[in-house]
């Protein structure tokens, strides 16, 4: 990136320069409204069309995406987003409709909502489904409000404890606290499972909900899951599964068969809808039939031959304006339909074998928290490298030099110098081999020329950024 490229659009403005010349107006002049409601000045840059095109084209070339490079960002499931999803979502019947339109004219869209509800119900075994939540955390929050309403409708207002493992995503305790529960943490044992003895110590009749990520954030399947869910049920609690890692389970296990009562799924992870800036997200919530009367509205149903939306009798209410991220629902539907049930099963199998291949190839160079087969992601620890004064952060930065996105770092917090790697099902063996070789190369560099790793990245538009300074003294305005 040269210095000219660093200049912001506003600072490129030259007075009177234009990107477009309007023809002279053929509309009679109107009196302006009251001056008080007009802004005095609108700061818009004055720039030629070519300058604008170059500015944004060059910015876009700095972008890193799954369409350009390998993106093993653990827990985020950065899988390929098939282009057919975009094609279907751009159909006029899906794109050019309005949520306030008469439902007679949007039957196809409501039918799609109904079918996607059925698919997610079938995949998780939890048949009550609302597609309304706009993100994973909102799905969690909805699920916890459902748990709270379920207990209060049974006059169990004393149930106010949410028990959550110490390996959980930070959103779990945050959502539980927002939903009004007191959070208690249960420890993980040495192999990364829920410490059953610790759970026995803290669980009592006050438990409202137990939240568990399946597979866990360590990428491991919980072997005691049936024991845990039956213990929670014995005390009258509900089991909430964080479906962030559902990509490992498609067609292999239904969450309901494990004793789960409520879960959410991040469509932008497991079901290949765009992430981050390409979002928006979507986090449908799934519940047992017993709990479906509490779901957030709207729910699609079929009445005689027509599709309609309704609000369940004891609904926790609306959690956003309309029908959820509809365009995203279309993409997830398209993904599920194009793969079919066998294809979805293959997704999870491939995701699991890819992660285990990486784990088996790198476990000598890097350390493992637990030497078990992993599910869809593996958590390596750079604790050996730390003895040579190299941090997980340095390794992640060095990977960028090789054109590979950094893994998720320092999470789960119970793993020292964690590097969480999730290859997803999308990648070829060649891409994964290249990643493995690069990780081994970096480990060699740590022994032979550690300075290269410590001062990385070297090949990017910017060098190592001072993230501590950025957090301590943020400059938020020019």
């Amino acid at each position: 990136m040269n210095n000219r490229d660093r200049i912001l659009l506003m600072d490129r403005s030259i007075p009177t320069r234009k990107a477009f010349n309007f023809p002279s107006s053929d509309v009679p002049k109107q009196k302006l409204p009251n001056k008080n409601i007009l802004r005095k000045k609108i700061s818009l840059p004055e720039i030629s069309q070519l300058e604008i095109i170059r500015y944004f084209t060059n910015l876009s070339r700095l972008n890193f995406s799954i369409d350009s490079n390998f993106y093993p960002l653990g827990s985020c499931t950065m899988k390929y987003n098939p282009k057919i999803n975009e094609e279907i979502a751009s159909f006029s019947g899906f794109q050019n409709i309005h949520p306030l339109q008469d439902s007679k004219s949007t039957q196809g869209a409501i039918k799609l909502i109904k079918l996607l509800q059925e698919f997610l119900g079938e995949i998780t075994g939890l048949k009550g489904v609302s597609l309304a939540p706009l993100a994973g955390a909102q799905g969690e929050y909805s699920g916890l409000l459902i748990a709270r309403k379920f207990h209060s409708s049974n006059n169990n207002n004393k149930k106010n404890i949410a028990i959550i493992p110490d390996s959980a995503h930070g959103t779990n305790p945050a959502s539980a606290a927002m939903a009004g529960f007191d959070v208690m943490t249960v420890k993980s044992d040495n192999s990364g499972n829920v410490d059953i003895e610790d759970l026995k110590k803290i669980i009592n009749e006050k438990i409202a909900v137990f939240m568990i990520t399946i597979p866990s954030t360590l990428g491991l399947f919980e072997p005691n899951i049936l024991k845990i869910t039956s213990m929670v049920h014995k005390y009258g609690g509900l089991v909430y599964a964080d479906g962030a890692n559902l990509n490992a389970l498609l067609g292999l296990i239904k969450l309901n068969d494990l004793g789960v009562d409520i879960c959410h799924s991040n469509l932008h992870k497991t079901f290949s809808t765009p992430h981050g800036g390409g979002g928006p997200g979507s986090g449908p919530v799934m519940v047992t039939e017993d709990l479906s009367d509490f779901l957030p509205s709207p729910i699609a149903k079929v009445n005689k031959a027509s599709y309609e939306l309704f609000t369940p009798n004891n609904s926790i209410g609306k959690i956003n304006g309309f029908h959820g991220s509809f365009g995203i629902l279309v993409r997830a539907y398209s993904y599920i339909k194009s793969l079919g049930s066998e294809g979805l099963k293959q997704v999870s199998k491939n995701a699991i074998i890819n992660a285990n291949y990486i784990q088996s190839q790198l476990k000598n160079e890097y350390s493992l928290y637990s030497d078990r087969y992993c599910m869809h992601e593996t958590v390596l620890s750079a604790s050996k490298q730390k003895n040579k004064a190299i941090k997980g952060l340095d390794i992640a930065k060095r990977l960028l030099d090789y054109g590979i996105h950094a893994p998720t770092m320092y999470f789960p917090q119970i793993v020292d110098e964690a590097l969480m790697i999730e290859p997803t099902e999308s990648e070829s063996k060649e891409t994964i081999d290249n990643f493995i070789e690069t990780m081994k190369n970096i480990n060699d560099e740590i022994s032979n020329s550690p300075e290269i790793v410590k001062s990385s990245p070297h090949n990017l538009p910017v060098k190592r950024l001072d993230e501590a300074k950025a957090a301590r003294n943020p400059i938020l305005k020019r």
Binding site: L393, F411, Q413, D416, E467, A468, A471, R472
Partner: protein, 123 residues
Amino acid sequence: MYSSEMKYSKEHEWISVNKNIITIGITDFAQESLGDVVFIDLPKIGTSISQFKKFGEIESVKAVSELFAPISGKVIEINSEIENSPEIINQSPHEKGWMIKVESSNLDEVNKLLTKEEYMKII
């Protein structure tokens, strides 16, 4: 760095005792594990804190963590310098980076904490 005069908690805090006034901070091991500290949330003067219960939060470039009180008592002084310059905690965790001073209500609690030798074994 680790003084035998100080006592330590499993949650990686240290205390130093001067009569019934206890000074509390986080250990060098804790600051090293956290990485660059960017924000600290301390209790107000006059607040009562309880042994092994949460009394504040510390945020580093890696994560937000809770601070657990190694001892019970009333907060009588806080280190306002670290609120403005949290990097002091990284630079001098056992001296300039002290966090709060507490008037202890029960000095017997000190016996529940670890000696230097005991703490060295767990880190």
